[in-house]
C-alpha cells in the first residue's frame, strides 16, 4: 500500500479516506435501498422513507409462499454450482497445460478461448435457441449449464494460467527429485499453492453464472429450469393492482446472500492468493 503516492502525509491520508468513503457510500446506497424496500409493508412501500417506518417480513413470506421463487432458487444454485465445478476442473487442467507445457496448437487454443470470451453473447442467443430446441435441451438444466461453461471456461483458463505462471517451476522439479510421482507433485505441491487461484476463479465463474439473465430468459420457458434473475422479472403482485416491488426487493436480497457467503468463506484464501502473487518471496 505504502509507496502508491510516495510519502504518506496526514493530508494525503485524509484525502484517501474521504475518497474511499464517498466511493463506498455511492456503491452501498442502492443496496441499502433495496434492503429497506424489502422490509417495508405493501402500504408503506412507496412512502419514500429510507428507513422503514414499520418493519415487516411480509415480502419474504410472500416470495416463499409459492413454489415460483423457491423452485427458481434451487435451479439457480444447482445450475451455477454444476457449471462452476465443471468449468473450474477443466479450466485448471487447461491452464496448467498452457502455463507449463509446450505443445502444438497452444497459441491457437489461447487465441480461440480469447475469441470466445470476447464474442457478443447476444448474437448467440437465437442460434442456441434453435439448436437446443432441436436437441431437446431447451428449458433443461444442461441447456443452461452448457452455454455457461462455454463462456466461463475462457475466464477460468485466463485467471488460472496467470496463477500457475506465478508458481515457480522449480518447485515441481524439486518435488520430482524428492521422489514424487507427477501426480504426487501436483497434489502435494502445486495444488496447495494454486488453491487461492482456484477459489478466486470459482467465485468469478459462480458470480457470472448466478447473475446471468440473457441466456436464462432465452433458453428457459417454465419453472423447471428458470433461474432467479428470470423468475424475478416474472414476479407480479397478488392482484393486478399490487406493486411487486416489495417482493422483487426481498428476492434480490435473498439471492445476494449466497454470493456474500461464498466470498466471505473464501475471502482469506483469496487475499492470501492475491498477495502471494504480488509479492515475490
Amino acid at each position: 500500500m505504502a509507496g502508491i503516492g510516495g510519502a504518506e502525509t496526514p493530508a494525503k491520508k485524509w484525502g484517501w479516506g474521504v475518497l474511499n468513503t464517498v466511493v463506498v457510500i455511492y456503491a452501498l446506497i442502492p443496496v441499502l435501498w433495496i434492503v429497506s424496500l424489502s422490509f417495508k409493508s405493501s402500504k408503506t412501500l412507496s412512502d419514500g422513507n429510507f428507513i422503514p417506518r414499520e418493519w415487516s417480513l411480509e415480502n419474504y413470506q410472500n416470495i416463499f409462499s409459492t413454489s415460483e421463487f423457491t423452485r427458481a432458487l434451487i435451479n439457480s444454485i444447482g445450475i451455477a454450482v454444476i457449471a462452476t465445478a465443471i468449468a473450474v476442473v477443466f479450466g485448471t487442467m487447461a491452464a496448467y497445460a498452457i502455463a507449463r507445457l509446450e505443445f502444438p496448437g497452444k497459441n491457437l487454443l489461447v487465441g480461440v478461448s480469447l475469441l470466445i470470451a470476447m464474442f457478443p453473447q447476444v448474437s448467440l442467443v437465437s442460434p442456441l435457441f434453435e439448436i437446443e430446441r432441436s436437441l431437446g435441451l431447451f428449458d433443461t438444466w444442461p441447456g443452461l449449464i452448457l452455454p455457461y461453461i462455454t463462456f466461463a471456461l475462457p475466464l477460468a483458463i485466463y485467471t488460472l494460467s496467470a496463477f500457475f505462471r506465478e508458481i515457480p517451476w522449480e518447485l515441481e522439479k524439486a518435488a520430482k527429485m524428492d521422489g514424487a510421482t507427477p501426480g504426487q507433485a501436483f497434489r502435494r505441491v502445486i495444488a496447495p499453492l494454486a488453491a487461492p487461484g482456484v477459489f478466486t476463479t470459482a467465485i468469478l465463474v459462480f458470480i457470472f453464472c448466478w447473475n446471468d439473465f440473457l441466456f436464462a430468459i432465452s433458453l428457459t420457458s417454465t419453472e423447471q429450469s428458470r433461474t432467479v434473475p428470470v423468475a424475478l422479472s416474472f414476479f407480479t403482485g397478488s392482484s393486478q393492482f399490487e406493486d411487486p416491488a416489495g417482493s422483487i426487493a426481498a428476492a434480490a436480497v435473498v439471492i445476494t446472500i449466497p454470493i456474500i457467503l461464498f466470498v466471505l468463506f473464501f475471502q482469506r484464501r483469496i487475499v492470501a492468493g492475491l498477495t502471494s502473487g504480488a509479492v515475490k518471496g
Partner: protein, 394 residues
C-alpha cells in the same frame, strides 16, 4: 552411494540447440566434482540429465553400474539443491525437510529422528516450525541442503547453490558445504560459474565451454597445466596474462622483451610442433620486481621496463598493473572469456598486464619499474586452436 558415469552424453533441445556434446566423465564413489564454465555452457543441462529432469538425447548415463537413461528422477535416488532453493512455501522447515521421507513412506518416528539430526548438523533446530518466507537467505539455503541430506541419497546434485547469497555468506557457506560433503562422504556434483568456488571445493574440476568438456582434473593441475587457452584464462584470479609472441630459434620475442626458452619449455614446444606465432601466457605471481631477483635468475628470465599504471598494495604483496601499447593477443577463446567477464566493452587499447610483486618492491604508481618474469613458468598457446603447447601430463 555410487559412482556416476557419463558415456558420450549429448543433449539436443527440441528447438535444435546443441547444449551438451559427448561428455565423458567418470565420477568415483564419494567424489566431490565441480562443473564450471561461463553461463550458457551447458552445466545445468548436464546436471539435469544426471538428475533425470532432462532427457538424454544420446549416450549413456550409469549410476552404480546401472543404465538409468530411462529412469524417472524418483527412481534414481539422487537429491538436488537448486539455485532458487525451491523450498515449498506452504510447508514449514520441518515439513520441507521431511517431504522426501514422507514420499518414501518412512514411519513417523524415523522421520522425526532424521529431520532432527539434519537440523542439528545444519544448525536449523530453532527454525523448524517457521515457514521459508520468514527465513534469511542463508537459512533457506541450509533448509535446501537439509532436504537433500535427510534421506541419504546415492548422490547430491547442486546447481549454483550459493550464487544467491551475498559475498561474505558465500565464503562461509562454501566451507560448510565442503565440510558437510566430507562428513557424509556422498558423491556430489556441484555446478558453478565461479572459478574460486571450483578451485576451493572440488576434488576434481570439469571445465566446460559451449557444451564441450575442455579439461578434467584436480584444481591445482588445471591451474598449473591448463590444456588450452580457455582453461588457462578461466582458472585463476587475477587471470593469466596473455601476450602475442614469436618463436625464433629457441628464443621468445614479445613486447615483454626477448627470452631464451628454458630446456624444459623448448623440449615441450618442439614436441608439440609449435607454429611461429604463439600466445604467451604468464600468471601474475611469476613476475617480480627486478631489483629483488637474484643475479643468476635475473639473467635467465625476461625483463621489461614500463610505467606502473596502478599499484595496489595488499599488505602481503603488491599488485602492479601495466598498460602496454601493442596488439592484444587474439583468439576466439580469449574473446569469449572477455565477454563472459564483461570486460570486452571496457575501453582501452593495448595489452593490460597484472603482476604480483613481493611487498618489498619499491614500485611506485606512475613511475617506471623494471619487472622480471620467470622464463620457466611461461606457457605457450597455439592461437589458431587454443591448444597449450607446453602442456605435460605430469
Amino acid at each position: 552411494m555410487a559412482e556416476i558415469v557419463l558415456d558420450k552424453v549429448t543433449k539436443r533441445y527440441p528447438d535444435g540447440a546443441l547444449a551438451v556434446q559427448e561428455v565423458n566423465l567418470e565420477i568415483a564413489d564419494g567424489e566431490f566434482i565441480i562443473l564450471v564454465g561461463p553461463s550458457g555452457c551447458g552445466k545445468s543441462t548436464t546436471l539435469n540429465m544426471i538428475a533425470g529432469l532432462e532427457d538424454i538425447t544420446d549416450g549413456e548415463l550409469r549410476i552404480g553400474g546401472q543404465r538409468v537413461n530411462e529412469k524417472a528422477p524418483k527412481d534414481r535416488d539422487i537429491a538436488m539443491v537448486f539455485q532458487s532453493y525451491a523450498l515449498y512455501p506452504h510447508m514449514t522447515v520441518k515439513e520441507n525437510m521431511a517431504f522426501p521421507l514422507r514420499l518414501a513412506k518412512v514411519d513417523n518416528a524415523t522421520v522425526e529422528k532424521k529431520v532432527k539430526e539434519a537440523a542439528e548438523i545444519l544448525d536449523l533446530t530453532q527454525h523448524l516450525d517457521r515457514k521459508p518466507s520468514n527465513l534469511s537467505g542463508g537459512q533457506r539455503q541450509r533448509v535446501a541442503m537439509g532436504r537433500a541430506i535427510v534421506r541419504n541419497p546415492k548422490a547430491f546434485l547442486m546447481d549454483e547453490p550459493l550464487s544467491n547469497l551475498d559475498a561474505k555468506l558465500r565464503v562461509q557457506m562454501r566451507t560448510s558445504v565442503s565440510r558437510l560433503q566430507k562428513q557424509l562422504g556422498t558423491t556430489t556434483v556441484y555446478v558453478t560459474h565461479d572459478q574460486t568456488e571450483a578451485m576451493t571445493l572440488g576434488d576434481r574440476v570439469v571445465v566446460m565451454r559451449g557444451g564441450v568438456v575442455q579439461q578434467i582434473g584436480a584444481p591445482q593441475f588445471l591451474y598449473d597445466q591448463p590444456a588450452n587457452l580457455f582453461v588457462a584464462g578461466f582458472i585463476g584470479s587475477p587471470a593469466m596474462n596473455f601476450v602475442p609472441a614469436t618463436l625464433e630459434n629457441g628464443s621468445l620475442r614479445s613486447i615483454l622483451g626477448d627470452v631464451t626458452l628454458t630446456d624444459r619449455v623448448r623440449q615441450l614446444v618442439e614436441g608439440a610442433d609449435a607454429p611461429r606465432e604463439v600466445i604467451m601466457g604468464i600468471r601474475p605471481e611469476h613476475f617480480e620486481d627486478a631489483a629483488l631477483v637474484e643475479a643468476a635468475a635475473l639473467s635467465s628470465g625476461g625483463k621489461f621496463t614500463h610505467q606502473v599504471d596502478v599499484l595496489e598494495s595488499m599488505g602481503s604483496d603488491k599488485y602492479a598493473y601495466f598498460n602496454l601499447t601493442g596488439e592484444q593477443a587474439a583468439s576466439a577463446e580469449l574473446q569469449e572469456l572477455a565477454a563472459d567477464a564483461g570486460s570486452d566493452d571496457v575501453p582501452g587499447d593495448g595489452i593490460s598486464l597484472v603482476t604480483r610483486l613481493s611487498s618489498a618492491s619499491g614500485a611506485v604508481e606512475g613511475a617506471s619499474s623494471e619487472i622480471w618474469f620467470d622464463a620457466d613458468k611461461v606457457q605457450l598457446f597455439d592461437p589458431s586452436n587454443g591448444r597449450n603447447l607446453t602442456y605435460t601430463e605430469r
